[in-house]
Amino acid sequence: MKSEEIDSALSAGTYYFSGNEAVAEGAIAAGCRYYAGYPITPSSEIMERISLRFKDVDSVFMQMEDEIASICSVIGAVWAGAKAMTATSGPGFSLMQEGIGYAAFTETPLVIVSIQRAGPGTGQATRVGSGDLMQAKWGSHGDYQIIALSPWSVQEMYDQTIEAFNLAEQYRVPVFLMAEEAVGHLRERVDVGARVEVFNRIKKPGAPPFGTDQADGIPPMPAFGEGEKLLVTGSTHNEVGIRKTDDPGVHSRLVSRINNKILNNRKTIIQSESYGLDDAEVVVVSYGFTARSALFAMDQLRGEGKKVGLLRLKTIWPFADGIIQQIGATAKKIFVPEMNRGQIAGEIVKYATCGVIPYNQTDGEIIHPHQIMKEVRSLL
């Protein structure tokens, strides 16, 4: 493990940030030294704060000509040795998808923050949604795996941005912070510690940068300018990077490895929080902003003597299959409120051994606690 503890970029203390500002500060704390982006509502405040703050920390900020250039220049900077990030929203996230697939296939560690708004299309640019979770997983062509996190508070916008960088560096994979507009524009207190745990990419001069002895291994990653004469390509490549576009074995091994390095480590990657699962008859499975309403609703219902529990998914991808299976052993029903048409409910159905009741709202508004309380009462 190439983990180390470093001084926090901000002095320790309590700050009052918007979610988007906290993302910028989290990135700086994690060691982000290159940011490229393009203006888009509701994520632009991240770029604005980065543009201001990067001057203090000797880092490079580029406002590019579009989101395609943003993601591509981030990949270029990462191979030049940077920890790097971009942030966007709906339409910009769509434009980045080809670059995301390139990053996954070339095992380029980077962080993509998506402040989700109500889609599809241009949709409701200033309104909240949670409709881009499947896109985070499946947005680019071909088979690959990524890691996606779902923050529910401004504190978590800060903490999970740091975590996103660490996961990206550890697994050499694009990591997504899939926040919703409501969290991006929320203002709350954030506690910043004096020290930050960061993971720096592993370097092993001379070792192949695109293959390991293990079928699910993570190769070391050199940078341009280190004399390694690197061959980076988005075409199918062997362990040293030479194009092998007609070799079935090379393609199969590479695609399997970039999937398995995430899936086989999912128990370490996946994080969730449980409330009252032991005796719950109905378990609300929630994530992101909606989980705030779900927690309030659960507390109210518990006060009424109702046996309700809550599972909050902090990691969306890879999916928390194990804990969903466990819930089915004790609970009668799983209730899934989402600001989309059931993207995660569908995933839960794959693993749950009890009934799954989706509750979907796509009107650009948050789901309020009273809505969840009313629905859950009717299930008991």
Partner: protein, 255 residues
């Protein structure tokens, strides 16, 4: 490839991927010759390319850091690498379809920002790798696999385009003008800022055989006859200039 330049190639590379008669092998040679003349260290160089035949000039052949990217996006990738590590001597080598058609936006913005990159655009006036479709650089009336009755749209003048976007050094030469081209590459590598060289490179396989150039030699002869200097061009009438390609420096990098 001349033997004295073999040290610039990866030892495991034994052949070129280009069709017989393709100009890209000559261009590969000339780029390395310029690097050799300037005594640049390959350890400090980064070669970035997009998708297409010309993108294979550096990747995987050059014995240096190479970044083979997405179609059209080479300059965006190069911008990130160069801005983060300015010590990397960064060359973008790709084709006309890649750099100008799908990637034209990145080209003009990098020129506008005056990013310290050298961009070499191998212009074969057609989409070679995908089977000879019309390009934004194909001449009027050109026969291609998607313009069987002739191209009806005007081609870009790449040098005017990049000049208009503010690049300090812009030049055009053909692979049939190797000495001038090597000098231009050397000059572009010596200038700090965005430098652009359009290199006319014959594609007998996709362009030539559809446009009555019966052999690769005929395409080379056409380039030799068409390419004239800016000075020669000044002596000709508009009618006489119709089928000519004006070569030379269009901006010499002086402030």
């Amino acid at each position: 490839m001349a033997r004295d330049l073999e040290e610039y190639l990866r030892p495991e590379i034994r052949s070129t991927p280009f069709c017989p008669g393709c100009g890209h092998g000559i261009l590969m040679n000339l780029i390395l010759r310029a690097i050799d003349e300037l005594q640049l260290s390959m350890d400090e160089m980064l070669f970035v390319s997009g998708i297409g035949c010309a993108a294979w000039i550096p990747s995987p052949h050059f014995n240096a850091d190479t970044l083979h990217t997405l179609h059209g996006r080479a300059i965006a990738f190069a911008t990130g690498a160069k801005m983060f590590n300015p010590k990397l001597k960064t060359l973008v080598i790709s084709g006309d379809g890649d750099l100008v058609s799908i990637g034209g936006n990145h080209l003009i913005h990098a020129a506008r920002r005056n990013i310290d990159l050298t961009v070499i655009c191998a212009n074969n006036m057609i989409y070679g790798m995908t089977g000879g479709q019309v390009a934004s650089t194909s001449p009027l009336d050109a026969l291609t696999s998607t313009t069987m009755e002739g191209n009806v749209y005007r081609p870009f003048d790449l040098c005017k385009l990049v000049l208009g976007a503010g690049a300090p050094y812009v030049a055009r030469y053909s692979v049939t003008q190797p000495l001038s081209l090597v000098k231009a590459i050397e000059k572009s590598l010596s200038i700090k800022g965005f430098t652009f060289i359009e290199v006319l490179s014959p594609c007998p396989t996709q362009f030539g055989r559809r446009n009555r150039y019966d052999s690769p030699v005929d395409m080379v002869k056409m380039l030799i006859e068409s390419c004239i200097s800016r000075e020669e061009a000044e002596q000709l009438t508009a009618e006489e200039l119709k089928d000519k390609i004006i070569t030379g420096e269009f901006s010499d990098g002086e402030p």
